[in-house]
Amino acid sequence: MPFETPSPTAKLSIQSLSKNYVIDQKALRVLLNIDLDVHEGEFVSIVGRSGCGKSTLLRLVSGLENDYSGTIQLDGKVINAPSLDRGMIFQDPSLLPWMTVRENVAFALVNQNIPKAEKDKRVLDLIDLVGLKGFESAYPKELSGGMAQRAAIARALVSQPKVLLLDEPLGALDALTRLRLQNELQRIWLQHRMTMIMVTHDVEEAVYLGDRVVIMDPEPGRIRRIVDVPLAHPRDRASPVLHAIRDEVLKDLTNGVVI
């Protein structure tokens, strides 16, 4: 193979990352020696059983937690606090109930020096992008679970992050809404080509969306294996290759035990 295109620069670089929690004066090892490079514009899914530290890994990358050993770097800069470089979406939409959809999305720019006209435009564009046009003045209590999560996605994107961190973003939604939002995530990702890292319990979702699927083992949380999904986006859910990879990941997750 000729070296025509240089390999993409590693946007996010995690090296020998370990993390302990202290519970009852005993150290609990949550993450052990995590090494992971995520490329620019790549979609990485992380799956693993409960307690494998995948959410903790995401919180560390977001900067919400900063007590760890090893290094986490974004574009060569060490991460130790939240930054608008990294957007975050939780399983719970975590909208502020006293703000309308428009105010919630705009809150992402609360501490940014952006002219009001541009702010308004960006907010409305994002609300449009996630399909919430017409609901700008709705309060979170008036939204369905799927709509609330769409608003949270708009809020995470409005600051134009380089990396979007998704912590089981569709975990609380019903099956149909979930499939629809998976397609929306894929569409947004194709449109913006930002780096996305998504933690999920749903192997199908992980394989459908991810360029790579990171399989983690629990206690202590560590990477068991990384599976490539060499299919172009947007993908066909019925693709036999996709199903084969899904079965392989499932088998690996369950240690070959048939469920």
């Binding site: 939240p82 006293w98 703000m99 992402a108 501490n111």
Partner: protein
């Protein structure tokens, strides 16, 4: 084959009439009581003194509105309540906020606040009259305390129980300390603060009338009632009771409407 059966669920005229009468259910007992009252007043002279005939009460309402007795006393009580509410509410919200924000204040003040709160307001009346006399300052102190207790407690609780997820949202978007307070802590605590203020409104009105009964004369509905009793003017006593009840009911209604408006985002399901 499934055929969808669409039922017309628009209300019929019968539904509307039924709804109208259901809405009147709250009036049934008061009307029955009034009828019983009127009947009782017609049983003889003694009964007519205890149960003043309704037309007598109504006549006296017109009369004392015209001669200024009702407006003067009513406004005096309202003004006293408003002052006490303002003083006690302001101090209460401030102390609650200080206790929730600064740990040393919490440690120093919370135990004594909890201890003082155990004594009912009426239990302080002898002490207050010894210290501050029988006049206006003592009344104002009692009313202010009535607003102070619930606002301290509810402000403190509201600020202490801010949702951690909302605080995380503020951190993610790099909100400054002031922005976090303004957009996350303050609105998050507001429902609880409002609960405190609503209790304060109810308590101040009650204690306003109570303090007027206990302390020295001066204009007020409590005094109007006490004077009516002393002069054996049953209809004046009754009028005072009715005005106190209606005023309390209406102010509570107004405050809860304001709360519904300010907290319209709240999910009350």
């Amino acid at each position: 084959m499934n055929t969808a059966v669409l039922t017309d669920i628009r209300p019929t005229t019968g539904d509307r009439i039924a709804k109208f009468f259901l809405g009147l259910r709250g009036f049934v007992i008061p009307i029955l009581a009034l009828v019983a009252w009127q009947l009782a007043s017609q049983q003889g002279a003694v009964q007519a003194y205890v149960f003043v005939p309704l037309d007598g009460v109504f006549k006296s309402l017109i009369e004392h509105f015209a001669d200024g007795e009702i407006p003067i006393n009513w406004l005096a009580s309202l003004g006293r309540t408003a002052s006490g509410f303002a003083i006690g509410g302001l101090l209460g919200v401030s102390l609650g906020a200080l206790m929730a924000t600064f740990r040393p204040v919490d440690v120093l003040v919370n135990p004594i606040y909890q201890a003082i709160r155990q004594v009912p307001l009426l239990g302080y009346i002898p002490l207050i009259s010894l210290w501050f006399g029988n006049g206006e300052p003592s009344k104002l102190l009692i009313i202010s305390l009535a607003a102070f207790y619930p606002t301290v407690l509810n402000t403190y609780e509201g600020l202490k129980h801010i949702d951690a997820r909302h605080v995380a949202v503020g951190r993610i978007f790099l909100a400054s300390r002031w922005q976090t307070f303004r957009h996350i802590v303050l609105p998050g605590a507001l429902p609880s603060v409002f609960t405190g203020l609503m209790q304060a409104v109810a308590f101040t009105w009650l204690s306003s009338v109570g303090s007027e009964l206990f302390f020295n004369p001066g204009p007020g509905l409590g005094n109007m009632m006490a004077n009516g009793q002393a002069a054996f003017r049953m209809e004046v006593v009754l009028l005072a009771v009715i005005i106190i009840g209606v005023t309390g009911y209406v102010t509570n209604l107004i405050v809860s409407k304001i709360a519904d408006r300010v907290l319209r985002w709240r999910n009350v399901r």
